[in-house]
């Protein structure tokens, strides 16, 4: 079975859109973080699909695949820092709602 690349791209676009909307709508910072992961994975999916699309029998275009590995790595780092920050927030405010993040404005 061979899923056409276009389908994968559309799926990825959908994932990205869900991620963006989730980021915009959800108030829980942890879920917002997960939405970011969703967006990153949309990018990964696109990379992999495109990587396959641009490969031929003779030359394999690995750039996209390599990029996605880096993305996964970076996503892990981000999650680590992000969660730490969320803990710091929770310690201070006993909440992880993003509304708590509007002390500074104007």
């Amino acid at each position: 079975m061979n899923v056409p690349s276009e389908h994968l791209l559309v799926l990825a676009a959908g994932l990205f859109a869900i991620g963006v909307l989730g980021f915009l709508i959800r108030r829980n910072v942890i879920i917002v973080l997960m939405c970011i992961e969703l967006m990153l994975n949309a990018a990964n999916l696109t990379f992999l699909a495109a990587s396959r699309q641009h490969s031929t029998a003779q030359v394999v275009n690995l750039d996209g695949a390599v990029f996605s590995i880096f993305v996964i790595l970076v996503a892990a780092c981000e999650a680590a820092v992000g969660l730490a920050l969320i803990i710091a927030l929770f310690r201070l405010k006993q909440t992880v709602e993003s509304d708590a993040l509007s002390e500074m404005k104007g």
């Binding site: 690349s5 910072v29 990153l40 696109t46 927030l89 405010k93 500074m104």
Partner: protein, 483 residues
């Protein structure tokens, strides 16, 4: 990649090209190791400074040398990226010097972590500036950003610091996701992540254009132009001031370095749009700053305005600036001056904050000239440079930016930009007015002189002042060598 290329990975030129990165990384490791031993505490500073200086020295040697590319041309150490690299080293050094004695007793035990995080940022910046490949840029971006997220909320007992860190992190990650998705679309459209390859193939079709738009959006986020700049005031204000200095100077410079490298992706017809974005950014930054009462936040807005100004060179290039390197030179000099000026300004605010957090407010600056004449004089100099008054580096930077526009025939944007800088002077002057022309508040008069200034900060401020003046009065020292 061919197996043969692996051999080139370690030839002398390639090594020289990445030497600054290696030096910084080595310094980082040494610092970490030394940090384990309490007895070596006094060595931490010297290690930090030494690794930055060595990295700077390596960067400087890359100037005269022919461009050195690494790993199949994904990273390039040429004259431009080396110039940027020097700026990053300087920015980090200045921020670090200003951070000495900045933190409170409770935060001081974590100085090691602070220093390690800070030392890792120039690695990211340098990678960004030299990146010829979207992967390398992304890695650089994250090496820069992730430590900064942590640094922003370094004063984790203060809600503003945490808020700044989280906001920066969430929005930064959000923007990074845009970059990635944009990069993936570009890749889908062109099949390559190499900038030169993309340039050869060209940006055709909606997929590629959408990719460019998203990549640009994330870059605009990093350099903080409209409408991607809203995070800046909050994050700059909430972060520890030395970190703000680093963000304002280093991060912005690194993002611009890559923006200039990748602006070929923008359609020529976008010139006016980019100019409009830049001008709106200047307007929002300047008008917003006009409404501030806290100098730190005001400087954040001013940073937005300056980003808009630099973005003008992109518009100039797109509109057909006949000078091939016009944009690069202008951006380099402008950001060079800005690094010293903004670092100096934020650094002095950091110094003042040691009397209490309220001392970043405009009110508390009243009569500062009597209380701390040297700081007031230096801050005035920086304000004038930010305002682009001659005899300071800021002036010539502004000159070069507008030159790019004028050469490209964008006279009206240049004129509007010039008028918007008048608004900017309006708030820079307010700082000077407060310091020199308004009477000192009674409770501040009692302070007479605050605690002794830190020597490190004093040196840093002096360096900033000297460079700001030198870039304004003797620009040949810089122009002849750097460009």
């Amino acid at each position: 990649m061919n197996p043969q290329d692996l051999l080139h990975l370690f030839d002398a030129r390639a090594l020289a090209a990445v030497a600054p990165l290696l030096a910084l990384s080595a310094g980082l490791i040494v610092l970490l190791v030394a940090g384990v031993f309490r007895s070596l505490e006094s060595l931490r500073g010297p290690i930090m400074v030494a690794s930055l200086l060595v990295a700077g020295w390596f960067t400087a040697t890359n100037f005269g040398a022919p461009p050195g590319s690494v790993i199949d041309g994904t990273y390039l150490a040429d004259r431009a990226s080396s110039a940027w690299g020097l700026l990053f080293v300087v920015a980090t050094l200045l921020a670090w010097l200003f951070s000495q004695h900045y933190y409170s007793e409770a935060e001081r035990p974590f100085q090691l972590e602070h220093d390690v995080l800070m030392l890792s940022t120039p690695i990211g910046m340098t990678l960004m500036a030299g990146a010829q490949n979207l992967i390398v840029f992304f890695i650089g971006l994250e090496i820069l950003s992730i430590p900064l997220y942590a640094l922003a909320s370094f004063r984790r007992s203060r809600s503003r610091s945490v808020e700044a860190g989280l906001k920066y992190f969430l929005l930064g990650a959000f923007a990074a996701a845009f970059f990635l998705y944009g990069a993936s679309l570009l890749y889908a459209a062109t099949g390559t992540l190499q900038l030169q390859e993309i340039a050869k193939i060209g940006i055709h079709g909606p997929l590629a254009l959408a990719g460019v738009a998203l990549v640009m959006a994330s870059l605009f986020f990093k350099v903080s132009v409209f409408p991607f700049h809203l995070w800046v005031p909050d994050v700059y204000q909430g972060s520890p001031t030395p970190v703000t200095a680093l963000m304002a100077t280093g991060t912005k410079a690194a993002a611009f370095a890559f923006l200039l490298n990748s602006m070929f992706m923008l359609p020529k017809s976008a010139a006016l749009l980019v100019a409009a974005i830049a001008l709106v950014t200047m307007a929002l930054g300047n008008l917003g700053a006009l409404a501030q009462t806290d100098v730190k936040r005001m400087l954040a807005y001013s940073g937005v305005a300056h980003a808009g100004t630099v973005l003008l060179v992109v518009a100039g290039t797109l509109a057909g600036d006949p000078e091939a390197n016009g944009a690069l030179h202008a951006a380099l000099f402008y950001m060079g001056a800005y690094v010293f000026t903004a670092a100096g300004a934020f650094g002095l605010l950091a110094l003042l904050e040691r009397d209490g957090e309220r001392f970043t407010s405009l009110d508390a600056l009243k009569g500062l000239a009597q209380r701390r004449p040297v700081i007031a004089a230096a801050l005035t100099l920086f304000m004038l440079s930010l305002g682009g008054i001659p005899a300071t580096g800021g002036f010539l930077g502004k000159w070069m930016v507008f030159s790019s526009l004028v050469r490209a025939g964008l006279i009206w944007p240049a004129a509007i930009g010039a008028l918007l800088s008048v608004v900017a002077l309006g708030y820079y002057l307010r700082v000077v007015v407060a310091m020199y022309m308004q009477p000192i508040a009674e409770r501040d008069a009692a302070l007479a002189r605050g605690p002794d200034s830190s020597a490190a900060a004093a040196i840093a401020a002096a360096v900033c002042a000297v460079f700001v003046l030198a870039m304004g009065v003797l620009p040949n020292l810089f122009l002849d060598r750097l460009i």
